[in-house]
């Protein structure tokens, strides 16, 4: 606690601005007014992306209408990986700088990220059956995403498993940092090993192997999923901060009364 106060006093020190914004009360003041807008935009973009992909995007030359599953499967996969990267990032801040907001974020990212990973796995299985001929195969891509799901579940359990919350936050942060090794494995699995899963369609360095009328709904849906993820995490963090404040006030009132 004491170190935070000192650091905020000297804004020129590295990381001081982070201490400034990592204050839960300040986070609540900044984020709460934006939540209704963020929620509205997330819903609109996600709905547009999903409907565009489901009903209006053209069918694929090879996979026919089954390629429509892409518009939910791929964004869910991207969000689940980015979500884990965020989880690892806040865990890093939690371990090194002990930001209380980082622990709050870690606690709320877990369930949302796990949900998106679950959506990715289920929609992938439902895509695999009609196209490959199997719901599930143990290739490097599918296995590493399943590992990601279990990392999320382990983190959710670990962060709530201790009587002393600080111990839970520490243990869960270590798990999140160790598990980050899985992210490059997921990304490069289709290049490093022979997999049944297809290679990358979208490329950030060259041109993407997807026709433009299918790329647009994919991008819209992706932006929608990302916004939804961020909005959900922020709303849950705000709720957690308010719950904590309520608890503190109740405890203080009880102490005054006694």
């Amino acid at each position: 606690m004491n170190e935070n106060v000192i650091a905020t006093g000297r804004m020129s020190k590295t990381g001081a601005w982070l201490h400034y914004f990592a204050n839960p009360g300040r986070f609540l003041r900044f984020v709460r007014p934006a939540l209704p807008w963020a929620a509205a935009i997330s819903i609109v973009v996600t709905v547009v992306g999903i409907i565009w992909g489901y009903a209006f995007a053209p069918a694929d030359w090879q996979q026919g209408d089954a390629s429509r599953i892409m518009y939910v499967h791929v964004p869910a996969a991207w969000v689940s990986m980015s979500g884990y990267a965020m989880l690892a990032g806040v865990s890093f801040f939690s371990i090194v700088w002990r930001h209380p907001l980082a622990d709050l974020a870690a606690e709320e990212i877990g369930p949302v990220g796990a949900g998106f990973t679950f959506v990715c796995l289920v929609s992938g299985a439902l895509w695999g059956k009609p196209m490959w001929g199997a719901y599930w195969v143990w290739d490097a891509r599918l296995t590493s995403v399943l590992v990601l799901f279990f990392l999320y579940l382990g983190h959710i359990a670990l962060i709530r498993a201790f009587d002393n919350p600080a111990h839970g936050h520490r243990a869960a942060a270590i798990l999140a940092l160790v598990g980050v090794i899985n992210l490059p494995i997921i990304v490069f699995s289709v290049q490093w090993w022979n997999t049944l899963h297809q290679g990358n369609t979208i490329s950030f360095t060259g041109s993407s192997r997807i026709y433009i009328t299918m790329l647009y709904p994919l991008l819209v849906s992706t932006v929608g999923f990302y916004l939804s993820f961020l909005t959900l995490v922020c709303a849950r963090m705000c709720a957690a901060i308010m719950e904590r404040r309520t608890r503190t006030l109740l405890v203080a009132a009880a102490e005054r009364a006694s």
Binding site: I95, M131, L177, I185, Q198, S207, Y211
Partner: protein, 168 residues
Amino acid sequence: MRGAKKRRLYLVLAIGLCLSAAVGLSLAAFSSTLTFFFSPREVVAKHPAPGMSFRLGGIVQVGTVQTVVNAGTPVTNFRLTDGQASIPVVYSGLLPDLFREGQGIVAIGAMNASGQFVASEVLAKHGSSYMPKDVEQSLKNAGKWNPAYGPPPPASEWNTMQVKGSAS
């Protein structure tokens, strides 16, 4: 106080480095067992014992697919190739919808005594190119691509291509 923070930072970074080195090395060591399938070239080089089950992946060689219906079950003979070697495969049963000449597939089964791969299951491995049917047709008509002979041309040639009568 700042010293403690710096120590934690370096500790985390050092542990991360050690861990990634360990995982990287073990992945490199185990990469052969992580492989989901063997290519025809590897099978020709390694000569797996007949009856030993493994997965064989490759491209269905053009002009080699023959299907005979035997007592109600279709029996399909074809060759799987990776461009350098090719292995004859036999499979009895219904093939996945995406099975066609030039398609990448993964077959699960074992070699028999006469050097033929007897597949008990055939999985289709679809490519990573997505385009509407009419774009594929116009690439085909322009002589730029035949799906039976490999992947489409570089994506920049077609992913924003104008197509006459395109539905969308």
